[in-house]
Each structure stands twice: as C-alpha cells, then as structure tokens.
C-alpha cells in the first residue's frame, strides 16, 4: 500500500535538495528535532513534539535527484526531484510497512465478497 504526492515548488533542485537533506531545514517542515546524514548508509533520527520518534537509514542519495529512506519499521520513502518549467517537481512515495500487505489482501478479499 502506498501514498503518492506531487508538487511543484518555485525553487531550484539545489534549493529543494537542501531543504530535504539538511537537518535544520528538515526541522522547518518534517519533524521538530532532526539528526540526518544524507549519504547512502547514513542514519536519520526524527523526533516530534508529541514524543514520537522514527529512525531511518538512507538507501539512496543522488544529490538534486533522488533520496530513498528505509524506516526502521519497514516502510520506505522515496523523494524524487525533477527540474520543470517554473521550478522543481517533488514526487513523494511512501510505502507502508509489511503488515499492510496482509491487510491489503484482506481488503481485496473483503471487497470481492462485498
């Protein structure tokens, strides 16, 4: 199961890359407190004001093009950048942890019966 979002920012790919990889910039939009090492194998720790914490490992990092994170709870986030007229398109794909594959099958079976 996955979520996808696409948005065009009036900014260069370099500006968007900075905003999605520098810890202090990530703290402006992603989480309250961020530690992040944006290179393959690098680790990310994201904390939110409500006490929530998520950890991730960088699987891929192609500057200004593509960033892939593996969440420690097995989900995955892919951020893809593309220069377009008027700025940079950011495509986000978040894939859910494995447990949802079973749920999805349930949902499919359920939908078939219903």
């Amino acid at each position: 199961m996955r979520i996808e979002r696409e948005i065009v920012f009036p900014a260069t790919p370099a500006e968007v890359w900075e905003a999605i990889t520098e810890a202090e910039r990530l703290e402006e939009w992603f989480a309250t407190e961020v530690e992040f090492d944006p290179q393959p194998g690098g680790e990310g720790v994201f904390r939110w004001g409500d006490g929530d914490e998520r950890r991730a490992v960088v699987r891929e990092a192609e500057p200004e093009e593509r960033l892939v994170l593996d969440w420690d709870d097995e989900g995955e986030v892919v951020l893809e950048l593309e220069e377009v007229d008027g700025g940079t398109r950011l495509h986000v794909t978040e894939t859910s942890p494995d447990w949802s594959a079973a749920l999805e099958l349930h949902a499919f079976a359920w939908a078939t019966v219903a």
Binding site: F9, P10, E28, H106, A107, A111, T112
Partner: protein
Amino acid sequence: MGHGRVDLVFDALGDPARRALVEAVAERGDATATELAAGLPVTRQAVAKQLATLADAGLLSATRAGRETRYAVTPEPLSDAVGWMVDVGAAWDDRLARLRRSLAKERAVR
C-alpha cells in the same frame, strides 16, 4: 468485479476532500451530509455526492434515517489499511505545505 471495487477504493481516497470526509466521519462515529457540511465551506449536496462515492467504494456504510442517510466508516480490517492511507496522506499534505513555506522563506532571505 473485485478489481473494479479495489480501484474504486483507491480512486475514492485519491481526493484530499474525500479523505478529510472519511476522517470526519471516523471522528464522529457516524454522520449525515447535513452535519458534515455544517463545518465546511461547501454545500450539503457536494458533501452528499462525495459521501455516496465513498459508500460506493465500500469505505463508508450508508443507513437511511428518515429523510437523511447516516454514514459510518466500515469495519476492520479494511479501515486499518484505509486509516494508514488517510493518516500518512494527511501528514504529507501538511509537510509539503510547510516545505513550500520553508523554501519561500529561504528565498526571501537570500
């Protein structure tokens, strides 16, 4: 037929307004189009149409109550999977809005 139903589910949840309605119904337990429209800048008819789409996809159950239809979120396990989509989708909508502001702010500074 089954595949068509699953496509309906994903199409129904592809729209932010409809995801918001699923969340609103889930928060209230059950609700009518009139009740939901009261808190929104849209007409009751528009909400009723969206609710019907969600019910067609099997995400909401519909029960006639007098002249109105009451909607409720359908039971587990589908609603767990739907809950994940709704939560994660809403989180990204919020994050990307903040990212847009962060990028604009950075531009203004430079």
